[in-house]
Amino acid sequence: MSAGYNFGFLDEHAKKEVRRAILKAISIPGYQVPYSSREMPMGRGFGTGGLQLTLSLIGANDTLKVIDQGSDDSVNAVNLRQFIEMTCPGIDTTTHLSEATLIQSRHRIPETPLKPEQVLVLQVPYPDPLVVVEPSEDKRKIMHGEADYARLLVKLYEDIVKFDEITISHRYPTRINDHYVIDPSPIPRWDVPKLDNSPALVLFGAGREKKIYAVPPHTKGEPLAFEDVPFRVESFNDAQGKRRACARCGATDSFLDEFMNEDGSKRYQCSDSDYCDETLQASKMTEAATYA
């Protein structure tokens, strides 16, 4: 495979262009920088935006972690990881967040807080939050430029009128550095506060829509809300108001996925598999220590 392909699959000019777009995105937090998204050997919509960011950033000393829906073992994550291993000889891959320098993810930001030396790359299907209220991209660009987001807030108003709460479950519009509002990719509301003042750089790549944007480290990220109806994350309380715990590791501070057992009952488990494993490991260690 190595023969005939440049390190990182993309040619050096393509990488240079993507890096230039990344620099611009970091300089203007939340601004969607257009770039010429390359053809990748997979369908657009399978993470080609995130992949191009990763391939442009990765070097031989990097350790990569790829997550899809919180898991390292889902088909999409495995395929992307294998592709990057194949085209970037010499890099290391890991499933442990603490060892990774570069993390490519879809739908989740890891539960464990990121470190300043880490870079998180998110795959984005729809980069523009205004697309739900304004079909014309020309007009959307003007609206972004003038920070004209009233119509997004009207959407929230209508939600509260109809359902007594804001019903956006993922892609929650978030204002970056007091100006641009971004679509933070399909991460759940649970992960949105992690963007605020994050120690690590967060990059967003939309391959099909040909946009790159960024939330630089230690930048304000504020989910849109009303003064008297504040933003809130998902609640994992049961009917009695008790916080549900992960059925596997027992964590009560993580984002839980709901599974249906064969008898129809529900089971809740951490969505972030690495976090789940680590919590399990830690509890085993404590157990062992208690018995010893």
Binding site: E146, A150, R151, E158
Partner: protein
């Protein structure tokens, strides 16, 4: 009385225009389309002043350019030439020299517009309350309870049933839609309101109530208004001063009573005589 708007030499030409456009169009030429280049001179050399709390009428037949004047002043269109000055307590805005964001601020905060067709002024995809919320949110009101209260207050002022405020305007009758539009226009308590054929197409009793509402609002809030209509009854009832337009030119202007009782221009005479 304080002057709030001063329009001078406003012109709007659709098409590329040529040096002979102006001389070859107008009431004398009996057309507004230039025979040399085919451009349409929608309005030419329109000037007027407007004072606080005053209602100015723009009358004339279809295609005379009266709506174009208002659309230019509301920044729906950009004029070909001319100036307009909007006076606030402490500042004067050269309206056509402002940048897009400044124009948007004036439009959202200081002006209100009521269109003949409610589809232009309202978003039918959201509730009536949401339409008013939109205007408040544009002006950085970010307290849900406060927005809700203001919307209720405005809708009850314009006599829309509060029990229906969370319905889409699509579910309303024409008169109700017009009331929602007026409530939306008033949301920021603007000093200047543009009314473009607001009662056209409504039945007579509804027309009368909407006109009453407009007059009451003018009395209560001292709002200046520019009323565009071809209905002489509306002009007589609402306005103190009026401009008569034909083929893009102002052919007569003055006190409404004077124009209607003693029209000078032949066209105005015919217009007044033809009214039943």
């Amino acid at each position: 009385m304080r002057k709030i708007l001063e329009v001078s030499n406003l012109s709007k030409i659709y098409g590329k225009g040529c040096p002979r456009c102006i001389e070859s169009t107008g009431p004398e030429a009996d057309t507004n389309m230039c025979p040399h280049c085919g451009s349409v001179v929608a309005i030419h050399d329109v000037s007027f002043d407007l004072h606080e709390g005053e209602i100015l009428g723009l009358m004339g037949e279809s295609g005379s350019g009266k709506s174009t004047v208002v659309k230019n002043l509301y920044f729906d269109q950009t004029p070909t030439s001319g100036e307009a000055r909007f006076f606030e307590e402490d500042t004067t805005h050269e309206m056509f020299n402002l940048n897009a964001a400044q124009q948007r601020r004036l439009r959202n905060q200081r002006f209100g517009m009521v269109y003949q067709n409610p589809h232009l002024g309202l978003n039918f995809g959201i509730s009536s309350g949401g339409n008013i919320a939109e205007r408040l949110l544009m002006n950085d009101v970010s307290h849900y309870g406060e927005i809700r209260e203001r919307a209720k207050e405005l809708l009850s002022r314009t006599e829309v049933l509060l029990s229906r405020m969370d319905e889409s305007p699509a579910a309303f009758s024409g008169g109700m839609q017009q009331r929602v539009q007026i409530a939306k226009a008033l949301a920021t308590n603007p000093p200047l309101l543009y009314l473009d054929e607001v009662t056209t197409g409504l039945d007579l009793s509804v027309q009368a109530r909407i006109l009453d509402l407009i007059l009451e609002i003018q009395q209560e809030r001292n709002t200046a208004m520019i009323v565009v209509t071809h209905d002489l009854g509306v002009i007589r009832l609402l306005t103190g001063r009026a401009l008569v337009m034909k083929y893009g030119r102002v052919i007569e202007s003055g006190l409404t009573d004077q124009i209607l009782e003693d029209p000078q221009h032949a066209y105005t005479q015919r217009l007044v005589a033809s009214a039943l």
